[in-house]
Amino acid sequence: MGVVLRTEGLTKRFEHTTAVEDLDLEVREGEVFGFLGPNGAGKTTTLRLLCALIAPTSGRAEVAGYRLGHDNERIRASVGILTEAPGLYERQSARDNLLFFAALFGLSPAIARAQTERYLRLMGLWDRRTEPVATFSRGMKQKMAIARAAIHEPRIIFLDEPTTGLDPDAARTVREFIAQIRGEGRTVFLCTHNLDDADRLCDRIAFFRRTVIRIDTPAQLRAELYGHETEFRLLPSPRAADLECVRSIRGVREAHLENGSIVVSSGDPLVANPAIVQALVGGGAQIAYVTERRASLEDVYLKVVEGIS
Protein backbone atom coordinates (compact mmCIF):
# COMPACT_ATOMS: atom_id res chain seq x y z
CA MET A 1 0.00 0.00 0.00
CA GLY A 2 1.35 3.41 -0.95
CA VAL A 3 1.44 6.38 1.34
CA VAL A 4 -1.43 8.79 0.69
CA LEU A 5 -0.70 11.26 3.48
CA ARG A 6 2.64 12.22 4.95
CA THR A 7 3.59 14.96 7.39
CA GLU A 8 7.03 16.02 8.57
CA GLY A 9 7.40 18.24 11.60
CA LEU A 10 3.97 19.73 11.01
CA THR A 11 3.33 22.42 13.63
CA LYS A 12 0.47 24.83 14.22
CA ARG A 13 0.72 27.62 16.75
CA PHE A 14 -2.01 30.09 17.57
CA GLU A 15 -1.39 33.27 19.51
CA HIS A 16 -0.88 31.72 22.91
CA THR A 17 -1.06 28.00 22.29
CA THR A 18 0.58 25.28 20.27
CA ALA A 19 -2.20 23.06 18.94
CA VAL A 20 -0.05 20.66 16.89
CA GLU A 21 3.65 20.18 17.43
CA ASP A 22 6.18 18.47 15.25
CA LEU A 23 3.75 15.95 13.81
CA ASP A 24 5.28 13.12 11.78
CA LEU A 25 2.69 10.86 10.26
CA GLU A 26 2.26 8.43 7.39
CA VAL A 27 -1.13 7.13 6.37
CA ARG A 28 -1.43 4.38 3.78
CA GLU A 29 -3.74 4.18 0.82
CA GLY A 30 -6.89 2.18 1.58
CA GLU A 31 -6.54 1.96 5.35
CA VAL A 32 -8.85 3.15 8.09
CA PHE A 33 -6.58 5.23 10.26
CA GLY A 34 -7.81 6.00 13.76
CA PHE A 35 -6.80 9.29 15.35
CA LEU A 36 -7.46 9.15 19.06
CA GLY A 37 -6.81 11.67 21.77
CA PRO A 38 -8.45 13.56 24.61
CA ASN A 39 -10.51 16.72 24.13
CA GLY A 40 -8.32 19.68 23.25
CA ALA A 41 -5.52 17.45 22.00
CA GLY A 42 -5.48 19.23 18.63
CA LYS A 43 -7.29 16.61 16.53
CA THR A 44 -9.65 19.05 14.82
CA THR A 45 -6.79 21.46 14.14
CA THR A 46 -4.83 18.59 12.58
CA LEU A 47 -7.80 17.74 10.36
CA ARG A 48 -8.10 21.37 9.27
CA LEU A 49 -4.39 21.48 8.50
CA LEU A 50 -4.54 18.29 6.43
CA CYS A 51 -7.62 19.52 4.52
CA ALA A 52 -5.81 22.79 3.66
CA LEU A 53 -8.31 24.84 5.62
CA ILE A 54 -5.66 26.47 7.77
CA ALA A 55 -1.95 26.96 7.16
CA PRO A 56 0.76 25.31 9.26
CA THR A 57 3.18 27.47 11.21
CA SER A 58 6.01 25.18 10.14
CA GLY A 59 6.64 21.72 8.74
CA ARG A 60 5.57 19.97 5.56
CA ALA A 61 2.74 17.76 4.46
CA GLU A 62 1.79 15.92 1.33
CA VAL A 63 -1.87 14.98 0.99
CA ALA A 64 -3.12 12.78 -1.87
CA GLY A 65 0.08 13.55 -3.74
CA TYR A 66 -0.18 17.33 -3.39
CA ARG A 67 1.97 19.60 -1.26
CA LEU A 68 0.22 21.52 1.45
CA GLY A 69 0.59 25.24 0.89
CA HIS A 70 1.29 24.82 -2.84
CA ASP A 71 -1.68 22.86 -4.17
CA ASN A 72 -4.33 23.65 -1.59
CA GLU A 73 -7.25 23.66 -4.02
CA ARG A 74 -6.23 20.27 -5.41
CA ILE A 75 -5.91 18.95 -1.87
CA ARG A 76 -9.42 20.16 -1.08
CA ALA A 77 -10.66 18.54 -4.27
CA SER A 78 -9.02 15.24 -3.30
CA VAL A 79 -10.28 15.00 0.24
CA GLY A 80 -13.65 15.05 1.94
CA ILE A 81 -14.29 16.16 5.50
CA LEU A 82 -17.02 15.56 8.01
CA THR A 83 -16.76 18.53 10.35
CA GLU A 84 -17.74 18.57 14.03
CA ALA A 85 -21.17 20.01 13.19
CA PRO A 86 -23.08 18.69 10.15
CA GLY A 87 -23.40 22.28 8.83
CA LEU A 88 -26.20 21.62 6.33
CA TYR A 89 -28.48 24.14 4.66
CA GLU A 90 -31.54 23.39 6.72
CA ARG A 91 -34.16 25.06 4.54
CA GLN A 92 -33.05 23.10 1.52
CA SER A 93 -33.78 19.52 0.63
CA ALA A 94 -31.34 16.67 1.10
CA ARG A 95 -31.00 16.42 -2.66
CA ASP A 96 -30.31 20.15 -3.16
CA ASN A 97 -27.69 20.11 -0.40
CA LEU A 98 -25.74 17.35 -2.11
CA LEU A 99 -26.19 18.75 -5.62
CA PHE A 100 -24.81 22.09 -4.44
CA PHE A 101 -21.63 20.55 -3.08
CA ALA A 102 -21.29 18.30 -6.11
CA ALA A 103 -21.26 21.47 -8.26
CA LEU A 104 -18.61 23.08 -6.05
CA PHE A 105 -16.47 19.97 -6.48
CA GLY A 106 -16.74 20.34 -10.24
CA LEU A 107 -18.96 17.32 -10.93
CA SER A 108 -20.98 17.56 -14.12
CA PRO A 109 -24.76 17.79 -13.59
CA ALA A 110 -25.31 14.18 -14.73
CA ILE A 111 -22.59 12.77 -12.46
CA ALA A 112 -23.78 15.00 -9.62
CA ARG A 113 -27.30 13.58 -9.92
CA ALA A 114 -26.01 10.01 -10.05
CA GLN A 115 -23.71 10.50 -7.06
CA THR A 116 -26.48 12.20 -5.09
CA GLU A 117 -28.77 9.25 -5.68
CA ARG A 118 -26.04 6.77 -4.85
CA TYR A 119 -25.15 8.34 -1.51
CA LEU A 120 -28.70 9.12 -0.46
CA ARG A 121 -29.60 5.47 -1.09
CA LEU A 122 -26.46 4.29 0.71
CA MET A 123 -27.44 6.36 3.75
CA GLY A 124 -31.07 5.29 3.61
CA LEU A 125 -32.29 8.82 2.87
CA TRP A 126 -33.45 8.47 -0.74
CA ASP A 127 -37.12 8.38 0.20
CA ARG A 128 -36.76 11.71 1.97
CA ARG A 129 -34.66 13.42 -0.66
CA THR A 130 -37.10 16.25 -1.32
CA GLU A 131 -37.69 17.13 2.32
CA PRO A 132 -35.94 20.08 3.97
CA VAL A 133 -33.00 18.96 6.09
CA ALA A 134 -34.49 20.89 9.02
CA THR A 135 -37.05 18.10 9.40
CA PHE A 136 -34.33 15.43 9.78
CA SER A 137 -33.20 13.84 13.03
CA ARG A 138 -29.66 14.34 14.27
CA GLY A 139 -28.63 10.94 12.97
CA MET A 140 -30.07 11.66 9.53
CA LYS A 141 -28.24 14.98 9.41
CA GLN A 142 -25.00 13.27 10.35
CA LYS A 143 -25.52 10.72 7.57
CA MET A 144 -26.25 13.59 5.16
CA ALA A 145 -23.02 15.30 6.18
CA ILE A 146 -21.07 12.09 5.60
CA ALA A 147 -22.70 11.71 2.18
CA ARG A 148 -21.67 15.29 1.40
CA ALA A 149 -18.08 14.55 2.42
CA ALA A 150 -18.00 11.54 0.08
CA ILE A 151 -20.03 12.79 -2.90
CA HIS A 152 -16.95 13.52 -5.03
CA GLU A 153 -15.29 10.17 -4.23
CA PRO A 154 -12.32 11.68 -2.38
CA ARG A 155 -9.08 9.74 -2.04
CA ILE A 156 -9.06 10.48 1.68
CA ILE A 157 -12.13 11.08 3.78
CA PHE A 158 -11.64 12.75 7.15
CA LEU A 159 -14.36 11.95 9.66
CA ASP A 160 -14.52 13.92 12.90
CA GLU A 161 -16.59 12.00 15.44
CA PRO A 162 -18.91 10.39 12.87
CA THR A 163 -20.95 8.29 15.31
CA THR A 164 -21.21 10.71 18.24
CA GLY A 165 -24.80 11.13 19.37
CA LEU A 166 -26.19 8.58 16.92
CA ASP A 167 -28.60 5.80 17.81
CA PRO A 168 -27.28 2.24 17.33
CA ASP A 169 -28.99 1.85 13.96
CA ALA A 170 -27.56 5.08 12.52
CA ALA A 171 -24.14 4.29 14.03
CA ARG A 172 -24.20 0.90 12.30
CA THR A 173 -25.03 2.55 8.96
CA VAL A 174 -22.05 4.84 9.41
CA ARG A 175 -19.76 1.93 10.32
CA GLU A 176 -20.94 -0.01 7.28
CA PHE A 177 -20.30 3.04 5.14
CA ILE A 178 -16.74 3.34 6.46
CA ALA A 179 -16.16 -0.34 5.74
CA GLN A 180 -17.50 0.14 2.21
CA ILE A 181 -15.26 3.17 1.58
CA ARG A 182 -12.30 1.13 2.73
CA GLY A 183 -13.38 -1.73 0.48
CA GLU A 184 -13.23 0.66 -2.48
CA GLY A 185 -9.59 1.36 -1.66
CA ARG A 186 -10.17 4.83 -0.25
CA THR A 187 -8.50 6.01 2.91
CA VAL A 188 -10.49 6.93 5.99
CA PHE A 189 -8.94 9.19 8.62
CA LEU A 190 -11.14 8.66 11.63
CA CYS A 191 -11.12 11.01 14.61
CA THR A 192 -13.17 9.45 17.35
CA HIS A 193 -13.72 9.09 21.05
CA ASN A 194 -15.67 5.92 20.41
CA LEU A 195 -13.00 3.34 21.16
CA ASP A 196 -15.28 0.49 20.22
CA ASP A 197 -15.65 1.96 16.72
CA ALA A 198 -11.91 2.48 16.51
CA ASP A 199 -11.27 -1.10 17.59
CA ARG A 200 -13.73 -2.51 15.07
CA LEU A 201 -12.88 -0.32 12.11
CA CYS A 202 -9.28 0.83 12.24
CA ASP A 203 -6.33 -0.88 10.64
CA ARG A 204 -3.98 1.34 12.61
CA ILE A 205 -4.43 3.76 15.45
CA ALA A 206 -2.49 6.87 16.43
CA PHE A 207 -2.73 8.14 19.98
CA PHE A 208 -2.38 11.87 19.77
CA ARG A 209 -1.85 14.74 22.11
CA ARG A 210 -0.41 17.73 20.24
CA THR A 211 1.82 15.17 18.56
CA VAL A 212 1.63 11.43 17.92
CA ILE A 213 2.40 9.39 21.03
CA ARG A 214 2.03 5.89 19.57
CA ILE A 215 0.95 4.34 16.27
CA ASP A 216 0.19 0.68 15.73
CA THR A 217 -2.53 -1.83 15.00
CA PRO A 218 -5.07 -2.28 17.82
CA ALA A 219 -4.03 -5.91 18.31
CA GLN A 220 -0.35 -5.07 18.51
CA LEU A 221 -0.95 -2.25 20.98
CA ARG A 222 -2.97 -4.57 23.18
CA ALA A 223 -0.38 -7.33 23.06
CA GLU A 224 2.50 -4.99 23.71
CA LEU A 225 0.92 -3.16 26.59
CA TYR A 226 -0.97 -5.99 28.24
CA GLY A 227 0.57 -9.19 26.89
CA HIS A 228 -1.65 -12.23 26.17
CA GLU A 229 -3.92 -13.11 29.05
CA THR A 230 -5.90 -16.32 29.48
CA GLU A 231 -8.46 -17.13 32.13
CA PHE A 232 -8.69 -20.71 33.49
CA ARG A 233 -11.94 -21.33 35.37
CA LEU A 234 -11.62 -24.25 37.75
CA LEU A 235 -14.21 -26.29 39.60
CA PRO A 236 -14.24 -26.00 42.53
CA SER A 237 -12.28 -22.76 43.09
CA PRO A 238 -8.53 -22.98 42.43
CA ARG A 239 -6.26 -23.88 45.29
CA ALA A 240 -2.96 -22.23 46.19
CA ALA A 241 -1.21 -25.35 44.89
CA ASP A 242 -2.89 -24.92 41.47
CA LEU A 243 -1.62 -21.35 41.26
CA GLU A 244 1.93 -22.42 42.18
CA CYS A 245 1.71 -25.18 39.59
CA VAL A 246 0.77 -22.70 36.87
CA ARG A 247 3.48 -20.23 37.87
CA SER A 248 6.11 -22.92 37.55
CA ILE A 249 5.30 -23.60 33.90
CA ARG A 250 7.76 -22.32 31.35
CA GLY A 251 6.61 -19.25 29.39
CA VAL A 252 4.21 -18.02 32.07
CA ARG A 253 5.02 -14.39 32.91
CA GLU A 254 2.51 -13.86 35.63
CA ALA A 255 -0.49 -15.64 37.20
CA HIS A 256 -3.00 -14.57 39.81
CA LEU A 257 -6.36 -15.57 41.26
CA GLU A 258 -9.41 -13.61 40.24
CA ASN A 259 -13.04 -14.48 41.03
CA GLY A 260 -12.56 -18.22 41.09
CA SER A 261 -10.23 -18.29 38.11
CA ILE A 262 -6.53 -18.27 37.47
CA VAL A 263 -5.59 -15.43 35.11
CA VAL A 264 -2.35 -16.14 33.27
CA SER A 265 -0.18 -13.78 31.26
CA SER A 266 2.21 -15.51 28.88
CA GLY A 267 4.53 -14.65 26.06
CA ASP A 268 3.02 -17.18 23.67
CA PRO A 269 -0.33 -18.66 24.71
CA LEU A 270 -0.18 -21.29 21.96
CA VAL A 271 2.79 -22.87 23.73
CA ALA A 272 1.97 -22.11 27.36
CA ASN A 273 -1.76 -22.86 27.51
CA PRO A 274 -1.66 -26.59 26.54
CA ALA A 275 1.06 -27.11 29.16
CA ILE A 276 -1.01 -25.30 31.80
CA VAL A 277 -4.10 -27.40 31.02
CA GLN A 278 -2.06 -30.59 31.21
CA ALA A 279 -0.46 -29.60 34.53
CA LEU A 280 -3.76 -28.57 36.14
CA VAL A 281 -5.59 -31.73 35.07
CA GLY A 282 -2.61 -33.81 36.15
CA GLY A 283 -2.76 -32.12 39.57
CA GLY A 284 -6.43 -33.11 39.97
CA ALA A 285 -8.09 -29.84 39.07
CA GLN A 286 -11.27 -29.74 37.00
CA ILE A 287 -11.25 -27.11 34.26
CA ALA A 288 -14.69 -25.63 33.45
CA TYR A 289 -13.46 -23.43 30.60
CA VAL A 290 -10.48 -21.60 29.16
CA THR A 291 -11.05 -18.07 27.83
CA GLU A 292 -8.81 -15.65 26.00
CA ARG A 293 -8.82 -12.28 27.74
CA ARG A 294 -8.53 -9.21 25.54
CA ALA A 295 -7.58 -5.89 26.99
CA SER A 296 -10.05 -3.33 25.69
CA LEU A 297 -8.87 -0.46 23.54
CA GLU A 298 -10.06 1.74 26.36
CA ASP A 299 -7.50 0.13 28.65
CA VAL A 300 -4.83 0.71 26.04
CA TYR A 301 -5.97 4.29 25.48
CA LEU A 302 -5.91 5.09 29.16
CA LYS A 303 -2.52 3.52 29.61
CA VAL A 304 -1.01 5.46 26.69
CA VAL A 305 -2.79 8.81 26.79
CA GLU A 306 -3.41 9.18 30.50
CA GLY A 307 0.02 7.75 31.20
CA ILE A 308 1.55 10.66 29.31
CA SER A 309 -0.47 13.21 31.26
Partner: protein, 270 residues
Protein backbone atom coordinates in the same frame (compact mmCIF):
# COMPACT_ATOMS: atom_id res chain seq x y z
CA UNK B 1 -7.76 5.42 -6.57
CA UNK B 2 -8.96 8.59 -8.24
CA UNK B 3 -11.46 11.25 -7.25
CA UNK B 4 -14.33 12.57 -9.35
CA UNK B 5 -13.66 16.09 -8.16
CA UNK B 6 -11.99 18.84 -10.12
CA UNK B 7 -11.36 22.48 -9.35
CA UNK B 8 -14.56 23.92 -10.80
CA UNK B 9 -14.46 27.00 -13.02
CA UNK B 10 -15.50 30.38 -11.67
CA UNK B 11 -18.78 30.52 -13.57
CA UNK B 12 -19.93 27.16 -12.20
CA UNK B 13 -19.10 28.17 -8.63
CA UNK B 14 -20.70 31.60 -8.88
CA UNK B 15 -23.85 30.13 -10.45
CA UNK B 16 -24.09 27.36 -7.84
CA UNK B 17 -23.61 29.73 -4.91
CA UNK B 18 -26.05 32.32 -6.32
CA UNK B 19 -28.77 29.72 -6.92
CA UNK B 20 -28.31 28.28 -3.46
CA UNK B 21 -28.39 31.71 -1.81
CA UNK B 22 -31.56 32.61 -3.69
CA UNK B 23 -33.26 29.34 -2.80
CA UNK B 24 -32.27 29.90 0.83
CA UNK B 25 -33.47 33.54 0.76
CA UNK B 26 -36.80 32.60 -0.80
CA UNK B 27 -37.39 30.24 2.09
CA UNK B 28 -36.75 33.04 4.59
CA UNK B 29 -39.87 35.20 4.87
CA UNK B 30 -38.04 37.90 6.82
CA UNK B 31 -35.47 38.32 4.07
CA UNK B 32 -38.11 38.31 1.33
CA UNK B 33 -40.05 40.94 3.27
CA UNK B 34 -36.93 43.06 3.83
CA UNK B 35 -36.25 42.93 0.09
CA UNK B 36 -39.72 43.78 -1.17
CA UNK B 37 -41.23 45.93 1.57
CA UNK B 38 -38.99 49.08 1.42
CA UNK B 39 -39.34 49.52 -2.38
CA UNK B 40 -43.10 48.94 -2.11
CA UNK B 41 -43.45 51.58 0.60
CA UNK B 42 -41.32 54.12 -1.30
CA UNK B 43 -43.21 53.38 -4.52
CA UNK B 44 -46.63 53.71 -2.91
CA UNK B 45 -45.63 56.88 -1.05
CA UNK B 46 -44.11 58.43 -4.18
CA UNK B 47 -47.11 57.74 -6.42
CA UNK B 48 -49.49 58.85 -3.65
CA UNK B 49 -47.59 62.10 -3.07
CA UNK B 50 -47.51 63.01 -6.77
CA UNK B 51 -51.22 62.16 -7.10
CA UNK B 52 -52.07 64.24 -4.00
CA UNK B 53 -50.09 67.20 -5.33
CA UNK B 54 -51.99 66.91 -8.63
CA UNK B 55 -55.35 66.98 -6.84
CA UNK B 56 -54.58 69.67 -4.25
CA UNK B 57 -52.73 72.71 -5.60
CA UNK B 58 -50.31 74.35 -3.14
CA UNK B 59 -51.17 77.56 -1.26
CA UNK B 60 -49.24 80.78 -1.87
CA UNK B 61 -47.45 80.24 1.46
CA UNK B 62 -46.37 76.73 0.38
CA UNK B 63 -45.13 78.05 -2.93
CA UNK B 64 -42.99 80.75 -1.27
CA UNK B 65 -41.55 78.15 1.10
CA UNK B 66 -40.87 75.90 -1.88
CA UNK B 67 -39.06 78.63 -3.82
CA UNK B 68 -36.98 79.41 -0.73
CA UNK B 69 -36.03 75.79 -0.18
CA UNK B 70 -35.38 74.98 -3.81
CA UNK B 71 -34.20 77.89 -5.95
CA UNK B 72 -33.97 75.52 -8.94
CA UNK B 73 -37.74 75.55 -9.41
CA UNK B 74 -38.28 79.33 -9.17
CA UNK B 75 -40.31 80.56 -12.13
CA UNK B 76 -42.19 77.32 -12.76
CA UNK B 77 -45.96 77.02 -12.40
CA UNK B 78 -46.47 76.34 -8.64
CA UNK B 79 -48.50 73.16 -9.20
CA UNK B 80 -45.94 71.89 -11.69
CA UNK B 81 -43.07 72.90 -9.46
CA UNK B 82 -44.49 71.07 -6.44
CA UNK B 83 -45.12 67.90 -8.41
CA UNK B 84 -41.67 68.10 -10.01
CA UNK B 85 -40.03 68.58 -6.65
CA UNK B 86 -41.96 65.73 -5.03
CA UNK B 87 -41.20 63.43 -7.96
CA UNK B 88 -37.50 64.25 -7.65
CA UNK B 89 -37.50 63.78 -3.89
CA UNK B 90 -38.82 60.27 -4.34
CA UNK B 91 -36.20 59.53 -6.98
CA UNK B 92 -33.63 60.15 -4.26
CA UNK B 93 -35.43 57.63 -2.10
CA UNK B 94 -35.14 55.15 -4.97
CA UNK B 95 -31.38 55.62 -4.74
CA UNK B 96 -31.62 54.59 -1.11
CA UNK B 97 -33.22 51.22 -1.93
CA UNK B 98 -29.96 49.65 -3.17
CA UNK B 99 -28.13 50.80 -0.06
CA UNK B 100 -30.70 49.34 2.35
CA UNK B 101 -32.17 46.22 0.73
CA UNK B 102 -29.05 44.17 -0.12
CA UNK B 103 -27.30 45.01 3.11
CA UNK B 104 -29.47 42.63 5.13
CA UNK B 105 -29.13 39.88 2.53
CA UNK B 106 -25.35 40.31 2.36
CA UNK B 107 -24.94 40.28 6.13
CA UNK B 108 -27.17 37.22 6.44
CA UNK B 109 -25.25 35.43 3.71
CA UNK B 110 -22.08 35.51 5.83
CA UNK B 111 -23.18 35.74 9.47
CA UNK B 112 -26.14 33.45 8.76
CA UNK B 113 -23.77 30.79 7.41
CA UNK B 114 -21.56 31.26 10.40
CA UNK B 115 -24.46 30.85 12.83
CA UNK B 116 -25.66 27.72 11.00
CA UNK B 117 -22.07 26.40 10.94
CA UNK B 118 -22.26 25.84 7.19
CA UNK B 119 -19.16 27.86 6.39
CA UNK B 120 -16.60 25.19 7.24
CA UNK B 121 -17.91 22.60 4.75
CA UNK B 122 -18.17 25.37 2.17
CA UNK B 123 -14.59 26.47 2.78
CA UNK B 124 -13.45 22.84 2.58
CA UNK B 125 -14.55 22.72 -1.06
CA UNK B 126 -12.03 23.63 -3.77
CA UNK B 127 -13.35 27.18 -3.98
CA UNK B 128 -11.21 30.32 -3.94
CA UNK B 129 -12.15 33.00 -1.42
CA UNK B 130 -12.45 35.61 -4.18
CA UNK B 131 -14.91 33.41 -6.10
CA UNK B 132 -16.97 32.78 -3.01
CA UNK B 133 -17.16 36.47 -2.16
CA UNK B 134 -17.95 37.42 -5.74
CA UNK B 135 -20.77 34.88 -5.75
CA UNK B 136 -22.14 36.08 -2.42
CA UNK B 137 -21.84 39.67 -3.56
CA UNK B 138 -23.73 39.02 -6.80
CA UNK B 139 -26.33 36.88 -5.05
CA UNK B 140 -27.16 39.81 -2.77
CA UNK B 141 -26.79 42.57 -5.36
CA UNK B 142 -28.76 41.18 -8.33
CA UNK B 143 -32.18 40.98 -6.55
CA UNK B 144 -31.72 44.48 -5.09
CA UNK B 145 -30.87 45.98 -8.48
CA UNK B 146 -33.78 44.20 -10.17
CA UNK B 147 -36.21 45.30 -7.46
CA UNK B 148 -35.00 48.91 -7.64
CA UNK B 149 -35.19 49.03 -11.43
CA UNK B 150 -38.65 47.46 -11.40
CA UNK B 151 -39.84 49.97 -8.81
CA UNK B 152 -38.40 52.83 -10.89
CA UNK B 153 -40.17 51.63 -14.05
CA UNK B 154 -43.49 51.40 -12.20
CA UNK B 155 -42.90 54.88 -10.74
CA UNK B 156 -42.02 56.24 -14.18
CA UNK B 157 -45.20 54.86 -15.74
CA UNK B 158 -47.38 56.03 -12.82
CA UNK B 159 -45.98 59.58 -12.81
CA UNK B 160 -46.43 59.66 -16.60
CA UNK B 161 -50.10 58.83 -16.11
CA UNK B 162 -50.94 61.09 -13.17
CA UNK B 163 -48.20 63.71 -12.93
CA UNK B 164 -47.71 67.18 -14.44
CA UNK B 165 -45.27 67.94 -17.23
CA UNK B 166 -42.66 69.03 -14.68
CA UNK B 167 -43.02 65.79 -12.75
CA UNK B 168 -42.66 63.73 -15.93
CA UNK B 169 -39.65 65.80 -16.99
CA UNK B 170 -38.10 65.27 -13.54
CA UNK B 171 -38.42 61.49 -13.54
CA UNK B 172 -37.37 61.08 -17.16
CA UNK B 173 -34.42 63.49 -16.94
CA UNK B 174 -31.45 61.73 -18.60
CA UNK B 175 -29.25 62.23 -15.57
CA UNK B 176 -31.79 60.48 -13.34
CA UNK B 177 -32.25 57.62 -15.80
CA UNK B 178 -28.47 57.31 -15.99
CA UNK B 179 -28.26 57.54 -12.22
CA UNK B 180 -30.74 54.69 -11.86
CA UNK B 181 -29.00 52.57 -14.50
CA UNK B 182 -25.41 53.23 -13.40
CA UNK B 183 -25.49 54.41 -9.79
CA UNK B 184 -27.94 51.80 -8.51
CA UNK B 185 -25.66 48.82 -9.29
CA UNK B 186 -22.62 50.72 -7.97
CA UNK B 187 -24.38 51.70 -4.74
CA UNK B 188 -25.73 48.17 -4.39
CA UNK B 189 -22.24 46.67 -4.71
CA UNK B 190 -20.92 49.19 -2.20
CA UNK B 191 -23.60 48.27 0.30
CA UNK B 192 -23.17 44.52 -0.29
CA UNK B 193 -19.39 44.51 -0.06
CA UNK B 194 -19.49 46.73 2.99
CA UNK B 195 -21.98 44.31 4.53
CA UNK B 196 -19.67 41.37 3.79
CA UNK B 197 -16.63 43.25 5.10
CA UNK B 198 -18.43 44.10 8.33
CA UNK B 199 -19.71 40.53 8.63
CA UNK B 200 -16.16 39.20 8.67
CA UNK B 201 -15.45 41.24 11.79
CA UNK B 202 -18.77 41.16 13.62
CA UNK B 203 -20.70 38.18 14.95
CA UNK B 204 -24.11 39.76 15.39
CA UNK B 205 -26.47 40.56 12.51
CA UNK B 206 -27.90 43.58 14.36
CA UNK B 207 -24.48 45.13 14.99
CA UNK B 208 -23.52 44.57 11.36
CA UNK B 209 -26.74 46.25 10.21
CA UNK B 210 -26.16 49.22 12.51
CA UNK B 211 -22.68 49.79 11.11
CA UNK B 212 -23.70 49.04 7.53
CA UNK B 213 -26.63 51.44 7.77
CA UNK B 214 -24.18 54.34 7.77
CA UNK B 215 -23.73 53.83 4.02
CA UNK B 216 -27.03 55.67 3.45
CA UNK B 217 -25.76 58.90 5.03
CA UNK B 218 -23.67 60.21 2.09
CA UNK B 219 -26.41 59.18 -0.37
CA UNK B 220 -29.05 61.09 1.56
CA UNK B 221 -26.76 64.11 1.88
CA UNK B 222 -25.96 64.13 -1.82
CA UNK B 223 -29.64 63.75 -2.71
CA UNK B 224 -30.78 66.60 -0.48
CA UNK B 225 -28.04 68.86 -1.82
CA UNK B 226 -29.11 67.99 -5.37
CA UNK B 227 -32.83 68.66 -4.81
CA UNK B 228 -32.25 71.92 -2.99
CA UNK B 229 -29.94 73.09 -5.74
CA UNK B 230 -26.85 73.26 -3.49
CA UNK B 231 -25.17 70.70 -5.75
CA UNK B 232 -25.97 70.32 -9.43
CA UNK B 233 -25.54 66.79 -10.77
CA UNK B 234 -24.21 67.66 -14.19
CA UNK B 235 -22.33 65.39 -16.57
CA UNK B 236 -18.94 66.07 -14.98
CA UNK B 237 -20.05 65.50 -11.42
CA UNK B 238 -22.02 62.41 -12.52
CA UNK B 239 -18.94 60.86 -14.14
CA UNK B 240 -16.86 61.87 -11.15
CA UNK B 241 -19.29 60.30 -8.69
CA UNK B 242 -19.59 57.12 -10.75
CA UNK B 243 -15.78 56.80 -11.02
CA UNK B 244 -15.44 57.40 -7.30
CA UNK B 245 -18.04 54.70 -6.57
CA UNK B 246 -16.29 52.20 -8.85
CA UNK B 247 -13.01 52.82 -7.02
CA UNK B 248 -14.66 52.53 -3.61
CA UNK B 249 -16.41 49.30 -4.72
CA UNK B 250 -13.10 47.78 -5.80
CA UNK B 251 -11.35 48.85 -2.60
CA UNK B 252 -14.13 47.57 -0.32
CA UNK B 253 -14.25 44.24 -2.22
CA UNK B 254 -10.47 43.90 -1.89
CA UNK B 255 -10.67 44.67 1.82
CA UNK B 256 -13.48 42.13 2.25
CA UNK B 257 -11.36 39.55 0.43
CA UNK B 258 -8.41 40.20 2.73
CA UNK B 259 -10.61 40.04 5.83
CA UNK B 260 -12.50 36.93 4.68
CA UNK B 261 -9.75 34.34 5.14
CA UNK B 262 -10.37 30.66 5.82
CA UNK B 263 -8.05 30.65 8.80
CA UNK B 264 -9.59 33.74 10.43
CA UNK B 265 -13.08 32.41 9.97
CA UNK B 266 -12.37 28.92 11.27
CA UNK B 267 -10.09 29.74 14.17
CA UNK B 268 -11.49 33.07 15.39
CA UNK B 269 -15.21 32.87 14.77
CA UNK B 270 -16.62 31.32 17.90
Amino acid sequence: MSTLATVADRRTIVTAVCLREWRESLGNRLLVGMTIFPPLVILAAGIGAVATAAIYPPSEKDVQALYAASPAVVGLDPKDAVQGLIATYFLILFMLIPTVVPLTIAIYSVIGEKAARTLEPLLAAPVRVGELLLAKSLASAIPAVIVTWAAYVIYLVSVGLIGSGAAVRAVTAPRWILAIIVMVPLLTLLSVNLGILISTRVNDVRVAQQIGGLVVVPVVGLGIAQVTGRVVLNNESFIGTATFLILVDVVVFALARVAFQRENILSRWR
